[in-house]
Symmetry: none
Subunit: 213 residues, 4 copies
């Protein structure tokens, strides 16, 4: 790299557009690195230096983008959850049948996490490492996600698709809990298999029950 290229670079950094780009990119890079590192070693066993090293930046630089190690974990969750919910809402908006909506949500759930194993590990394992986090977690995006399922189910009850002797909240928890268990088992499994197809197996039971009619 010549002196000239360096000069050009430093000019770029100063221009409005690319500054934001750089900022976003570096934040992004740190988050990606953190997900990888957290997935490998666990939150408490991961050092900020590991994350910085993985992202190819200095330790101190992390603190230009995040206030603390804890905030990184929160950001991972916030960002993924927001994206998760947005995409979920977008997809089911175009679907009429409540049962199909739930099917879409279930598939999306497993597709998302089945594609990004590291993120899945952080979600299933690391995010649950502290009661404190779980309580905030619960209060925030997670509740919203569960509520989408609940509402969709209630719609189905109103339109006569679903049984009305079941509480929508319970129903949402059962579906979410089932999917969650699929993810956890997939992560911990020594065998490698695609996660997404499990959605249909879960729904077969969820929709029809296990009893012979």
């Amino acid at each position: 790299m010549t002196i000239h290229s360096v000069e050009r670079m430093s000019k770029n950094k100063s221009s409005g557009q690319s500054v934001r780009a750089v900022v976003v990119d570096k934040r992004e890079a740190i988050l990606r690195s953190a997900i990888k590192v957290f997935a490998e070693k666990g939150y408490f066993n991961s050092k900020v230096a590991d994350i910085a090293g993985e992202a190819g930046i200095a330790d101190g630089t992390v603190y230009l983008y995040f206030k603390s190690k804890d905030e990184i974990l929160h950001s991972i969750f916030d960002r993924a959850m927001a994206e998760f919910i947005a995409e979920g809402r977008r997809e089911i908006a175009e679907i009429q049948n409540p049962a199909d909506k739930l099917r879409r949500i279930a598939r999306l759930h497993l597709e998302k996490l089945g594609t990004d194993r590291d993120l899945a590990i952080v979600f299933q394992i690391e995010l649950r490492g502290s009661t404190k986090f779980m309580q905030e977690f619960s209060a925030a995006g997670f509740a919203e996600y569960l509520d989408i399922i609940r509402q969709t189910f209630a719609e189905g009850q109103a339109s006569g698709v679903f049984r009305t002797d079941i509480k929508p909240v319970v129903c949402a928890k059962v579906l979410y809990g089932s999917l969650d268990e699929m993810v956890t088992n997939w992560i911990l499994s020594k065998k490698s298999y695609p996660l997404a197809p499990m959605a249909d197996e879960v729904l077969k039971i969820f929709f029809g029950g296990v009893m012979v009619k």
Copy 2:
């Protein structure tokens, strides 16, 4: 052992029985304290000194009964899980109908954890704080527990009670995941409500599905 032999023993300075009793009691006290402390602050945020303080003993005494802080967490799990599985097996042994067996297991699951909130927190939250632990966890008692459900379901399929177009493994995961979610929500809930009755609500869905027939 006769009454006479007991009398003789109590005259002895250190009878096998009473020594063991003290040892068991103190081990027990440490485990109970650890469950409480872990539940309150999380495993990584709990100091060994906290556990010792809660148990009313000196820090060093903890190490007369446990090799490390980590071993305490393992012991909590091992003991509870063993008891859990033993009781589960005992109860379903007396039941014929596979559906009733599953109902018994489900109720037992929620009764147990619903009675001991601290233990529930450690089980739901702390035991999942590390991938490493989860993998050992998975390989050990947890797999056995899931297998009991799977076998019971398979029995039901053989006896014509349950649908045969569903994989027993998936079925076990769905039931377990649903119950697990009930526990997690119960723990994190600000409201106080009995956990055990949720078993029936879960089973209503599990057995009959959510669709209108």
Copy 3:
């Protein structure tokens, strides 16, 4: 063991003569164990429990015979040094020629330590692990030992056997230092060889010098 045998034993312990014997024996056993353990692991890395275990007694029993771990080390030195000096004095008392006296001391020095490797290790290595100890050490028996050599040399000067242009103190240090170095090398050597014969090799130089006459 029957009750009777126990009774007999407790009577033995109460008899004057054997009590002292037991006390001495146990003190002795602890010292021997300590020498072995210190030689193997070093003073700071040895636990009192190791010594007790080696001696086949309970940890607390050590404190019935010694005030502290430190005192054990001191006792090892004191006892060995006293014995050392006493034997040295006794042996040279019967010898007339000062040169022969020094030869006897030198041989005795290496014979003693060459026979008890563990004691040698403690003497050469462990006793020097602290300045504090070395200073007390120096002030006590060690100075006396060095003084015996010095006096013997001075006798030799008076009787015209040794050069008078050499300070007895320096002479004593040279002889002691030379012997000491033989012991240290012998301990650290991977090869196994008898230590005592080195005395004559040292004396050949000490008496005659290294220069060609």
Copy 4:
């Protein structure tokens, strides 16, 4: 390096040279502090915090320059011994007469340690506090030092200066042991006297023996 180059350097934020200088200086400062602290309290009784405090840095900073407390002790020895040997070799290279060479070595030995009492204490006392260290010590620089003496003596035998009925190895140990004893006594002595002159007194005996001819 000229004054101008220095000026240029100080203008640079972080020139390679000055960074290294700082690093070396701090390492140096830690080693000096450690020598002082070890000399005062002994290795095992010295806390890393003591060393850091003496050096005027934070505890953690020590670990930026040394891997462990143990490594500090090793570094002290390695550095001093390397310097010791290098200087010894350099000095005797210019001398022809083997006897003069030994005289030079002996004087150097006592001059070095007589100038730096703390270093002398660490060398004489602390480095011998563990068999483990002594064995590595023996295998490394110490053996090399002894070997220089041995070779020099063998040269003297070849050139007819020294007696040939003496083993060079024994001879080296006697000389080294004698000097070593001078240092140890000097350290432990309550009186204050110059160490270096003792070299000649040792050599008077070493070269000529103690016997009247």
